[in-house]
Amino acid sequence: MDLSGGTLLALAPVVLLVIGLVIFCLVDLIRAPAVRYLPKPLWALIILIGSTPLGAVLYLALGRERQPSPSIPDQTDKPALRTPPEPERKPIPDRVPPADEGPVVQTTGLTRDYGGAGLFDVDVSVPRGSVYGLVGPNGAGKTTVLSIITGMRRSDRGEVRLSVPRSGIAVCPDVPEFDPWLTAYEVVDLARSLIGTPRESVSAATDSVIDALAAAGLGDVADRQVGGFSRGMTQRLGFACALVGDPELLILDEPTSALDPAGRAELLALVASMRGRRTVIFSSHILDDVQRVADQVGILRDGRLLYQGSTQALIDTHLRPRWLIRIAGDTGTVRAELERQPWVTRVEPVGLDSLRVDGESMEAGERGIPVALAVCRERLVSCEPVAADLEAAFLALTEPRDTNSDSPFHAATVHAETLHAETLHAETLHAETLHAETLHSATKDGR
């Protein structure tokens, strides 16, 4: 073979490129926390002797792990979602609409038939400035309603009227996803640029992105690539993206599903603080969340809207004169005494030391219970009215009607009370957990 100067000059780039590529791939392989399909030593062999440099190209195409950094644990001991303190909240005049401005979203006869399932003649009306909770069992059609409102799906029939421009609507899906090689800052900045906001200065744009990240509790990880984020952090990032454009209508689909208890509470507080300043549609299967933040509620079942209106009005409808009495002694005597009272409609034991008392009216119970207890001379631990909640109302509306009970709401109400008793138990556990966490935190601080 003739290896003249020209030939060597021709071969030099080939050799350099191949060696450079192989070295790059080997270094990348060593630094990579994980590789795909094959173990690292086998990839090293392929890179070195696998028909060089095709082995290196094969590794780049298939073997490299796309996750750029190890998963960042959710920082539950830090403030997750930062709610602006009330006094510092800046009023925004253009977000406080006149009362007669009409609903932000109004659907008329919205129908989307998926062969028996779907939506049927749904008339949703979301008042401006409200937090509208959309609740319903799985498959009720919540996501379909939101998808049609946001233009992601079409309806077979009906109409959607929006009184805000498309650019004024922000959506946060239940499972947000982002390109893993972007940083949190870049994701939110991309969200800002996508909605086509009027040209603003670089510093103003940067400020808005940083503010959204800080509000979502991600200010500390703004420069981290999101591929390593936990699900909770990704959900917060989705929320930051929704906030960055200062939307007039914020649509949140199950926004708390991946958050820890602290993050969930703070997000709910943040959403609640938006009432009157921007319209929020809040879809959730956690009815307690909806009750805490939503002033308007829509209940869907089997694609039909069963109720729409004030959350409080719905709860009030299901408020019944009922008390839970806890006694430090024999419940049998008290139960017998209560059953003799003319105003009492039902007495049932709950556990070993409690009684559930149904009465004809609130006033009768408030007067009669102390008297009955005094007659029995038993020690009273507690006596509280059993408040109706959204859960009870929801179950009353959505439970099947084919119950054998004389009241259509009976089964649902019993179910709701069981849940209530379980909730009381869970709250006790939660309080104990919080206490333990406080102690743990104090121990850490003192270390």
Partner: protein, 265 residues
Amino acid sequence: MTLTGAPRALTPRRSRPMSTWRLEWLRLTRSRRWIALVAVYLVFGLIGPVMAKYMAGLLEHVQSGITITVPPPQPKDGIVNYLSQVGQIGLIVVVAIAAGAMSFDARRGISTFLRTRATGMWALVAPRFTVNAAAAVLAYTLGLLAAWYETALLLGSLPVGAMLAGLLCESVFLVFAVAVVAASASFARSTLGTVGIALAALIVLSLVGSIGAVHDWLPSTLSGATVELLSTTQLSDYAASLLTAIAASVLLVAVAVARLGRREV
């Protein structure tokens, strides 16, 4: 911004403002896809002429009793070797990388993020199509320049006019291939499905190109045109193919925008 009351933590590093164009640039660079793209074209660009030069010598070393007569390599053989390699492997890499960018509906979360914010489907498709087509053309050009350099050193000089005409033809074909990927993404949601449809379409087009009557009008004729341009043909012989490829690219991108815009997520 309504949340300015929230305390800020760290100020992130100042980076250039994001846009859908920058997103595509970062997709190429951060995910290292550009390395695979450039490496394939550059490696074959550098190796092709070397193989053409020393093929006879290599065959002499491996032959056992059989006499193989290889004609002395001509300058154009360096480019022929390059094109024969990148015409298949390079095209597959281009299709795979473009499909990764175009199939944004493959993941519902990303799809929702983009679709509910973008002002229109064109705003999503245009940067993906343009950046990937430009990257493919750039990688091909780098490979061709490398092959040209090696050929000049090892085999002799090549006509500049024919080389530039060939570059034009191959570039238009690569743009057409990326447009095929864009249209394919509107028929399949997954990246793999998009790659499959696009490659199938390009293979079928290549087979149809063997029919003499339509050969001169098909975009697939542009693939490998450099070889012919170095031998017998002229750029004007490819005018029909060039026009068809450009028109088809525009049409395919329009189809992609229309179909992706109508797609439900």
